[in-house]
């Protein structure tokens, strides 16, 4: 390390405009957790309306107008923004921005990311995008209300969409800068001895994720530009000829196609699903290896499966579009690729399950979340198969079944993985452990209420309840037999919110009063645990790192301890 590393920094340089990957990672983490909470809040308002239609919403009712009743326009707004915020402002920045930034350089033994300033630019671009999304609520027209998918022609005419598109351009830019940085960092800054197959699985997951972001996001940026042109310059890329809107023929040139948007959108948005899930799988892999005290089963097959998964995720997008009439040949192709892509997911999940076999499992809080991830993601994944086959998708498309399916993947799946990561790496970030008691108080109710929310969605969806009903199906013939579930799901959602209180208390209490720990409290093997807790600012390690071992050498026969760190000969 050169000697310019110890110049004094003022508060702004140190905590706000820092270029240290650890500070940026924490900035990402804090911002995205707040957005997650906000997005959850939007959904709770909607759930109130679904359970008790057209009754004043308690607490926040005053914000919704004089009556306090959630009006349909606002319901649509909340729905669109819930999806947008959860995905683009909550989970991706937490999974990639926060964990990727903080952990990847540490795990490969690097002093920082390859381009520290670009890294800060990526965070601030995300921040600006987030601010634009939030301010859109206060615009005279309100926020976007065409769903997070923004399908035209609706999105061309609905108000609020322009701000959404501009916000998305910033968020996409942020992802591009960030993921470029990850790829270069992982290729170039691996410590001596850290060969590709000595990389922890988490790094592999982030590496593939970064490629997905770099290659899949630009087409959405292209689509956003085209949609912006449609809205601002009155082109008709997504508007067919002779389109009638509100009883009048739309005065545009026409000959465009709404399907074009769907293709461009899902070309991003399907890989995006794997952007959401892969980092969580990476975290779960780390936590399982550490808490089973044995090597991750089938490390190489995990890596190959992840790379294959990343590749395949680019050629499955049109399985979101079976009902658009794009044709049998297209449907057949995308059904086939969709069935194929389930194989690597199953390989990964199976490897995790087998890793548990014969292990002496430590039921720490991170391990509980990681263990819960497995069946929850399993349910989410398996319920996706009927949606990937055209014939069954005809019945299930756009019903609550779909909502149940992807929420199982993302909520008790990814978010549990991310919670596991927070509990697991909190000691590294702060030098203190989080409370186990509060952690378990957080975990068990969360697990129960997550299922309370999403399991009934399968029942409603199979009955045929459409996903976008403002009244929760009161006036909908198919919904009459399954209406009673609405209240059950909503109460579960409110209880889930209550179950997050121990987590919030835990973070703040443990930050100042948690049990102090040394650099390796979990007895882990990967490189980040050989750095001090928290790691040295702007350098991470006290001395140069060298790597001698594979990532998961737990319980090596003949070794003194039950773990052999990568940095020890």
């Amino acid at each position: 390390m050169s000697n310019d590393s110890h110049h004094e920094e003022n508060f702004l340089q140190k905590y706000i405009f820092s270029v240290d990957h650890k500070v940026i990672g924490l900035q990402y983490g804090i911002t995205s957790l707040l957005f997650l909470l906000f997005g959850f809040g939007l959904m709770m308002v909607m759930r109130w309306q679904l359970a008790y239609p057209e009754t004043p919403v308690p607490i926040v009712g005053g914000l919704l107008g004089e009556t306090g009743i959630l009006m349909p326009e606002i319901y649509n707004m909340l729905g669109a923004m819930h999806g947008t915020i959860m995905i683009f402002l909550g989970i991706v920045p937490l999974a990639v921005g926060a964990f990727g930034n903080y952990i990847v350089p540490l795990q490969i033994g690097a002093p920082d990311m390859a381009f520290p300033k670009l890294n800060a630019a990526s965070y601030w671009s995300y921040f600006v995008g987030g601010v634009i999304m939030l301010t859109s609520f206060f615009m005279p027209e309100g926020a976007a209300r065409s769903g997070w998918t923004s399908y035209p022609p609706l999105s061309i005419f609905e108000t609020g969409q322009t701000m959404w598109l501009i916000g998305m351009v910033f968020l996409i830019t942020s992802s591009l800068l960030g993921s470029m940085n990850f790829i270069v960092t992982i290729v170039q800054l691996r410590a001596p001895g850290m060969t590709w197959f000595k990389l922890p699985f988490f790094v592999w997951a982030q590496f593939v994720t970064a490629f997905l972001l770099v290659l899949a996001f630009p087409p959405l940026e292209a689509a956003a530009v085209l949609q912006l042109m449609d809205r601002v310059a009155h082109t008709s890329f997504f508007l067919p000829s002779g389109l009638v809107y509100s009883g009048a023929t739309v005065d545009v040139y026409g000959s465009g196609s709404p399907l074009l948007w769907q293709h461009l959108f899902w070309f991003l948005a399907h890989p995006e699903v794997y952007v959401l899930i892969l980092p969580a799988m990476g975290i779960v892999g780390e936590v399982i290896a550490n808490n089973t005290r044995k090597p991750l089963w089938g490390y190489k097959s995990l890596v190959y499966a992840t790379v294959f998964l990343g590749f395949m995720s680019f050629i499955v997008w049109a399985h979101h579009m079976f009902l658009t009439g794009m044709g049998q040949a297209m449907s057949a192709f995308f059904q086939t690729t969709t069935m194929i892509i389930s194989i690597p997911s199953v390989v990964i999940l199976t490897a995790f399950f087998i890793s548990l076999w014969g292990a002496s499992i430590r039921f720490t809080t991170p391990m509980l979340f990681a263990l819960a991830f497995l069946p929850m993601f399993g349910i989410g994944g398996l319920t996706g198969l009927p949606l990937g086959v055209g014939a069954s998708d005809i019945h299930l498309h756009d019903t609550y079944y779909v909502i149940g399916h992807f929420h199982y993947v993302v909520a008790p799946g990814t978010i549990f993985g991310l919670f596991a990561g927070i509990y697991y790496w909190f000691p590294k970030m702060t030098g203190r452990k989080m409370s186990e008691a509060l952690g378990k108080l957080h975990f068990w109710p969360s697990l129960i209420f997550m299922n309370g929310i999403f399991m009934p969605m399968f029942i409603q969806g199979l009955a045929g309840v459409s996903r976008r009903l403002y009244d929760g199906g009161q006036l909908y013939a198919h919904a009459q037999d399954v209406l009673q579930w609405n209240e059950f799901m909503s109460i579960s959602a409110f209880c889930l919110a209550a179950a997050q209180i121990p987590f919030i208390i835990n973070v703040f209490v443990s930050m100042f009063n948690g049990e102090k720990v040394d650099r390796n409290p979990w007895g882990a093997t990967t490189v980040e645990w050989s750095a001090p807790s928290p790691p040295v600012p702007h350098a991470n390690f006290e001395s140069d790192v060298e790597v001698y071992r594979g990532p998961y050498e737990y319980s090596v026969p003949g070794a003194e301890k039950d773990f052999s760190p990568q940095t020890e000969k």
């Binding site: 390390m1 050169s2 940085n181 170039q188 770099v214 292209a222 689509a223 000959s255 465009g256 293709h263």
Partner: protein, 199 residues
């Protein structure tokens, strides 16, 4: 703190960070313009027969041909500027980089006359789907030109002299990376020219 391999190459990958970075960035740019080119194909297939050709005939092929030559020349001069730095000839670098910036400016001026010519005839992006995609593609390409000019202009102005004096190798790498980006912008135009003007 010093990030490894910012200037020197990492032995096992044979790359420095910025060169890998720009290639990854260009990969994402390929996907951006790839998305737009696919949109072009999709829209052309969806349009009534002859519609794209009819509106395409309103564009000025001579102007675009000159612009093509101008951009190709700028790609040559940007290489020459990098080669001059490799040969430690900073004065020549200044000249060639200046020529590159001049070419970029000429390109934009011609583009400006093309655009205003269309507006004078009452042709706007909303006039037809072809015109919409024409203005979108060339507009986005123009923004890339401006972006490149900002970066290369920064290296051409006195800031560049200082960087050259303090760390010549790093400065040379910077020009190389900027040049790679510039070639890409040029290449996009090479695709835009036939599909918009000639087809």
């Amino acid at each position: 703190m010093q990030i490894p391999y910012t200037i020197e190459e990492r032995p096992d990958t044979g790359l420095n960070n910025s060169k890998l970075g720009i290639w990854v960035f260009l990969a994402s740019e390929v996907m951006l313009f790839g998305g737009l080119f696919s949109a072009y194909v999709f829209l052309r297939m969806a349009a009534p027969i002859g519609d794209f050709a009819y509106w395409g005939s309103k564009l000025s092929i001579p102007m675009a041909t000159v612009n093509t030559l101008v951009l190709i020349s700028s790609s040559v001069t940007v290489i020459m500027s990098w080669a001059s730095l490799k040969m430690k000839d900073f004065e020549k670098y200044k000249m060639y980089m200046g020529l590159t910036l001049l070419c970029a400016l000429i390109f934009l001026v011609i583009k400006y006359f093309e655009y205003t010519g269309k507006f004078h005839h009452g042709i706007y992006p909303s006039s037809s789907t072809f015109m919409g995609i024409y203005f979108t593609l060339t507009g986005l390409h123009g923004l890339h030109i401006i972006g490149g000019m900002i970066v290369m202009g920064y290296f051409w102005l006195p800031f560049g002299n200082k960087m050259w004096q303090s760390d010549p190798e790093r400065f040379t790498n910077r020009i190389e990376v900027a040049g790679l980006y510039w070639h890409f912008v040029d290449l996009v135009w090479i695709f835009l020219f036939p599909i918009l003007y000639l087809l």
